[in-house]
């Protein structure tokens, strides 16, 4: 019987061998994939153990930090947002229950300290992970001004430095208190106006006449027009049997191209669009970045694509048999984000070179080691420096004597373009302003949109743009370290 005893023993040992192999599969080989699964509670639970890095603005204000506390003997970290609702959609949240958004999501691996080879060593040593801080380009002084100015409406403000692409402000209204996400998310969700949506990057609005900046650049790029080209406005322009009129039915008579932008004359731009044709105008749109996602350092599902939509689906920029005359004046299913329009203004301001927008300047450990540094990056050239300076001069005229005078700043030259997208209900216009300052040496570019207003872009959006640009231009760099 001793032989069978030995065989039985060996059979059982072999069985345990199989168990060990399978256990190794689950604990070592498949572990990574299991950890990443969305319904894995450990994934989020482990986040509570991490001393997440801080999110610090360009002017050294702490927007997010982790605070240690004890529960049942375990040390956990709670996320705290000292500025509450400030830049809420940009900063985002990171909670076990609601997941994560904004920069909290985009830079999670840095904030949570799981980057580089150190992460694996930490796991082996079972050491506590410490996240790195992220330093923003965003300036809370500009952000606060922007948020205050749009607080009582729905809308968005985007402020960028056109020379670098650094985002100085990204405001969206209505907003929410980031500290409330963990405690009372249901209330935030129930609130009207979708406060969780980042209108600056996700809001898709008809651009109205602000799109004429794109058309003007395209016109000058084509060489067929210059700022002095003469048009004759009869108050209407018929294309494919449909009549395009000017705002308020005004007749402008004989005027030049600069006047056309200054007073936002639809008939002139419709003619330009018709002559450029859909493929040429579409090609210019592509150079401005329409039709593809903006490469900004935010989660891709929080950035909408600007372009032409039909039934919710994005169309190609250069689709044939399209009504280029209406596209030229910002109609024909065009939907754009405020971020995209700020980039349009920024490209004109920066001598025709469009810079990639970014929010995080650098990632830096608590010991001061720079983990990641973001340098300015040129995306595309929309026009020659000469053409952009011509367009800039035309836009300067808009603020000096045209529809955008309310964006004017004393002692400074401002360039811009207004837009008023009408919806049929006179109380539900979308008011736009895009522009930059100082016009001769641009340091700041802006896009403002206000939803559901009875006013026009010149009345409602332009003054906000002016005030925000003034704040941005007067904001001096802050030295030293952030105050906790």
């Amino acid at each position: 019987m001793n032989r069978s005893i030995k065989s039985l023993y060996l059979a059982l040992v072999a069985g345990f061998g199989v168990l060990i192999l399978m256990l190794g599969y689950w604990q070592v080989i498949a572990a990574g994939g299991l950890d990443e699964r969305a319904d894995n509670p450990y994934h989020f639970e482990k986040q509570r153990l991490v001393d997440r890095g801080r999110i610090i603005s360009a002017d050294k204000v702490v927007l997010a930090e982790s605070i240690a506390y004890r529960q049942k003997g375990n040390r956990y970290y709670r996320r705290y947002y000292p500025q509450g609702a400030l830049a809420a959609q940009v900063v985002g949240y990171a909670t076990p229950q609601q997941g994560s958004t904004g920069l909290e999501q985009q830079y999670n691996q840095y904030l949570a300290g799981s980057y580089g080879a150190g992460a694996i060593l930490d796991k082996l040593r079972a050491e506590q992970k410490v996240g790195a801080d992220i330093r923003l380009t965003l300036d809370t002084r500009v952000q606060k001004t922007a948020e205050a100015l749009i607080a009582r409406s729905r809308g968005a403000v985007v402020v960028i430095d056109p020379r670098t692409g650094q985002v100085l402000a990204l405001a969206s209204s209505p907003t929410f208190d980031l500290n409330q996400v963990a405690s009372d998310f249901a209330t935030i969700r129930k609130r009207s106006g979708a406060p969780l949506v980042n209108r600056a990057t996700q809001g898709r609005y008809p651009p109205g006449s602000t799109f004429k900046v794109v058309t003007a650049t395209a016109a000058l790029n084509s060489g067929k027009w210059n700022p002095s080209s003469i048009f004759n406005d009869t108050g209407k322009y018929v294309v494919d049997g449909q009549t395009i009129r000017n705002d308020g039915g005004t007749k402008f008579g004989v005027h030049n191209f600069t006047d056309a932008l200054t007073f936002s004359i639809n008939t002139a731009f419709a003619q330009v669009g018709k002559r450029l044709g859909p493929s040429r105008l579409g090609g210019e749109m592509t150079k401005f970045g329409f039709g593809r996602p903006v490469e900004i350092d935010l989660p891709s599902d929080e950035v909408a694509v600007s372009g032409r939509y039909r039934n919710g689906k994005l169309l190609s920029n250069t689709q044939r048999d399209e009504d280029a005359a209406r596209i030229a004046i910002g109609q024909e299913n065009l939907l754009v984000t405020p971020l995209q329009m700020a980039m349009v203004a920024g490209a004109v301001a920066n001598g025709g070179r469009m810079q990639r927008p970014y929010l995080v300047k650098r990632v830096i450990t608590k010991d001061g080691v720079v983990v990641k540094q973001q340098n300015p990056e040129t995306l595309d050239s929309v026009s020659s420096a000469y053409v952009s300076s011509e367009v800039a001069r035309m836009m300067q005229n808009v603020v000096r004597e045209g529809t955008g005078t309310k964006a004017g700043l004393s002692g400074l030259s401002v360039a811009g373009k207004t837009g008023t997208a009408e919806t049929g209900d006179p109380n539900r216009n979308q008011a736009w302003f895009i522009g930059f300052a100082p016009a001769d040496n641009p340091k700041v570019a802006v896009a403002v949109v206000i939803e559901d207003t009875s006013g026009t872009g010149g009345q409602v959006a332009a003054p906000i743009a002016g005030a925000v640009m003034r704040t941005a231009l007067s904001a001096t760099p802050v030295q030293g370290e952030p105050q906790p």
Partner: protein, 437 residues
Amino acid sequence: MRLRTREMYFLVPGLLLGILGLAAAASARTDTLQVGPWQTSLGVAMVFVVMHAVLRLRAPFSDPYLVPIMAALTGIGLAELYRIDPALAGEQALWMTLGGIVFCAIIVFLPDHRVLERYRYVIGLTAVGLLVATMVFGTTVNGSRLWISVGGSQRVQLGELAKVLVVIFLAGYLREKREVLAIPTERRFGMNLPAFRHMAPILLFWGLALVVVVALNDFGTALLFFGVFLAMLYLATGRALYVGLGMGMFVAGSLFIWATVPRIAVRVGSWLNPFGDAQGNGYQMVQSLYALADGGLVGPGFGRALLVTPGGTPRIPELQTDFIFSAVADDLGFVGSVGVMLLFILFMARGFAIATAARDGFSKLLAGGLTAVVGLQAFIIIGGIVRLVPLTGVTLPFMSYGGSSVVVNFGIVAILLIISQRSRQGLIDAVHGAPAT
């Protein structure tokens, strides 16, 4: 070195493992250095010291390794229970005290296990009676009918006791029939088989195992009983063909039940694809897999994994019983969980060594069967956790929370040690002459 001295040398580190584990789990709770529940540690250590002392007096020649192995396994289990809920560890320590009393009682009052052979049919009938009683009067807990309520909230798992009685019965029965079963007399289906009247008990057992699956809704218990039966049949006859046939029949029967009983089909479905219903039937399995993945290669240490929510609820339902191994795997990682499996392999090595050293058929079968029952039970529940077999509700011997399981497993070790003592005592008597009785 004398055997009991050797036992003591191994018992000290075995006990220290549990005591330090408890201290580590307690320290993890507060993030400061703690001694842990010293009353529990001291109490359990005392139980093992008393067991050691009784062995010194009554079974000095018995195997010196089993008790230290048992101490290590129960110690790790106790530390894991403490980290799940300190109250569980306190209760488990009481069960271990009761287990120790049963252990000592067996050592003292059962000087010769061979008397059991005489009562094999009574014991066999008792086992059947216990199982039938469970089927009839059983309380359904977590979908399985394995418990009998004995007043208040106390429940007894009669199946745990029944499994030992079945092993005793089989040891006696197979010792009696091993010759006729081992020698084939008829040729059927191209195989050499023994006469049908000798085969009948096998078929009866097969049928019974399947009835248990359906009636108790517990695949694990059925697999354990049937597996132990096949293992002992193999020990008795040395014929692997029976094992193959038996396993084939069991699989065929299970497939038939799977195809016909919808409730079982659901369980099999959640075994094959737990992620398909991760919030429903697959929940337990999926949470356990997440725990395994979380443990990784080395794990964070006793009490440091996130097995329990801040509110105090274990993330895996039945963590303290069926899933205690997942807790070990999470806290101690792959390295620690392999360590536990190696302890079970060591346990089997000693148990089968006792069987090999035993000098009569009944003792060999009894020791082999008891060892196989512990090894198989560990294999089945760990196999369920790694998804080798469908998830089952059997306990992990020595580690899972539960009085019935603890007491019965302590009893099993006691019987193994008695067998070991008898065979070596016999050897000594043969050399030096039997003492006058």
